[in-house]
Assembly symmetry: C2
Homo-oligomer: 345 residues x 2
DNA sequence: TTGAAAGCGCTACCAT
DNA sequence: ATGGTAGCGCTTTCAA
């Protein structure tokens, strides 16, 4: 049998297995691709007759045509994608709410928000991975992005890089969330209540040290120059660890403890109460984050209420930065903290 | 002054303000774009001399060149992007862990995982928004995607659509998470413990009904055909609502309650205890999700432990589906549930 | 009012 | 061993 090479294929008749393009729409509607683009994007600069519009829309609907975002932004030279790395640690309700607000606000400004799951990739490598997507803006929570990473992102077209973390990074805008103030508030509060031997719980979970270290430092700062002492108390998030800590509580001789947050407060309070330690008489306990559960504990938990920035604020900052990338990076201190005293201190 | 039209511009000398492309790298290294592509992608089919490779890499490094993912996948005709809509409701630690596992597993298989923030867009409209990104696979948690949406995604090139929810959707693979079993386990457990008048807490939060409705139905199913009754108890996630419910508790005449999950259990238990209702003597309480906090309550909370699929399993399913899109959609029941009895029942 | 065509950045085929 | 070049899907001048 003789092999006959295929002749140059004449335009194949609507291969249904394939993804429809604007050319397919044009063909079906009997117009040019340009016209299709005009119609589907409601181009106002050009007048297309109503019958033509109808034919084009009908054809698009029939084919189930969906424009190709990558092709579009390739042509346009820019995208409206705002990229956020998804945090690796389990996030609390506060952060969830913040993210949702942010997404809603940015959507209203016509940006597309995308969370990118970056697994244990280090610094610049992560920045490169993000840069490949050519986002118009990158919002980086926590630490872990250096000046090099910022440079990579900017060189690849990101018009705004915003860090949400404890410190500013060269070249990037910053929403400074300095958790020092959380520890500071807690420390000052305990000191005001007459406590002088203060323990500070430091969670064992990796990824949380970004927050726990400054919170500890804040407590230290609050009592600096006084006769009060601060004792670091490493604690894993499980019952046995809490029980062990509680067992040696009286030896520690502490009269107060700041527990990093309300969840750890609950964990430790339970262990202390099981051990017979009276709260707040023997030991005052203050948590942080003002979660619902704190109000449900007995005694009711005193806590540090955090004031995060609103998603709207961040969205506005992003939009401003995108519109004028040459403007000097802004750095806003955005973390407010105030103690809510209940019955545990 | 006479206006002279610009002559065709001779290759401009490295406009530093602009984003470097592979052409810039080629120019700097003194080779063609093809060679740059070969080198940077480690093309094995073609032999490039070591000195050339070095020059290319050096040029890329010097310019801070990062490839343009959109252009690449446009050319390739496909991407390795796995898209997940980010759930709008606050997610618990279980879900967070699952997502992280999934991302890690998919990254190992060389996919890029992206969470897309879809704000209150309805069904097909959301599907269109996702389809514009031309993901190779789409994973949709919860309900909210219909057969139409699946069709849109497939027609625009998605090789796998997987729903993670209560029911199968025509054309899509499914990880069936039928929360009936959770309610069923709880109901059966309470019945076994001799309880006959069972209350079921139904959270007020929108977005949670996807889970709460089947959990309620499960309880009903568990006691169907017996003399036990099931009473629906709507409850908002705040103290006042819980207090109001507790205030009329004795009127309700219930001897047991399934609280949707452990958090609502804590909320209700506190209100009941403040009201003097003895647990479990007067009223047995069972939660769900087996959170840490359940173990910290007094009495210790009985709960329904959920067995979610591992991220690895889902990653494998996705990979299989992408490799062979023609295969019939698989539907796996993946939600296991078993009661962990503690002291509250 | 509509169409032809260039070109965004990239890769892979085909020459040389 | 390296270069030329077509073309992925789209928008947008410029011409007709």
């Amino acid at each position: 049998m003789v092999q006959i090479p295929n002749p140059p294929a004449p335009a194949p008749p609507a291969p249904t297995g394939s993804v429809p393009t604007s050319a397919d729409v044009a063909r079906l509607a009997g117009v040019s691709r340009a016209t299709v683009s005009y119609v589907l994007n409601n181009a106002r600069a050009v007048r297309i007759s109503e019958p033509t519009r109808r034919r084009v829309r009908e054809a698009a609907r029939e084919l189930g045509y969906v424009p190709h975002a990558a092709a579009r932004s390739l042509r346009a030279g820019h995208s409206r994608m705002v990229l956020m790395p998804a945090p690796a640690f389990p996030v609390g309700p506060l952060y969830s709410r913040f993210i949702n607000e942010l997404q809603a606000a940015l959507s209203l400004l016509d940006y597309t928000v995308v969370q990118h799951g970056t697994v244990g990739v280090h610094d610049d490598e992560a920045a490169r991975a993000w840069a490949e997507l050519r986002p118009v803006a990158v919002l980086v929570p926590g630490a872990g992005l250096g000046p090099r990473g910022v440079e990579v992102l900017k060189r690849s077209g990101a018009r705004a890089v915003v860090t949400l973390g404890p410190e500013t990074v060269e070249g990037a805008h910053a929403l400074l969330m300095d958790h020092d103030v959380v520890g500071y508030s807690a420390g000052a509060h305990l000191f005001d209540r007459g406590r002088r031997r203060i323990g500070v719980v430091v969670p064992g979970e990796p990824g949380l040290d970004t927050f726990s270290a400054p919170r500890l430092a804040g407590v230290r700062a609050a009592v600096r120059g006084t006769d009060a002492t601060v004792t670091e108390l490493p604690l894993a998030h499980d019952e046995e660890a809490a029980a062990r800590l509680a067992a040696r509580w009286r030896d520690l001789g502490l009269d107060a403890v700041f527990t990093y947050n309300d969840e750890y407060a609950m964990l430790l309070m339970r262990a202390l109460q099981d051990e017979g330690v009276r709260i707040p008489e023997e030991t005052a306990v203050v948590g942080a984050d003002d979660l619902m559960l704190g109000r449900l504990l007995r005694p009711r938990l005193s806590t540090v209420h955090l004031e995060l920035p609103s998603g709207q604020e961040l969205a506005d900052l992003v939009d401003r930065a995108v519109r004028d990338p040459s403007a000097a990076p802004e750095a806003h201190k955005v973390l407010g903290a105030r103690v809510i005293r209940r019955d545990s201190t």
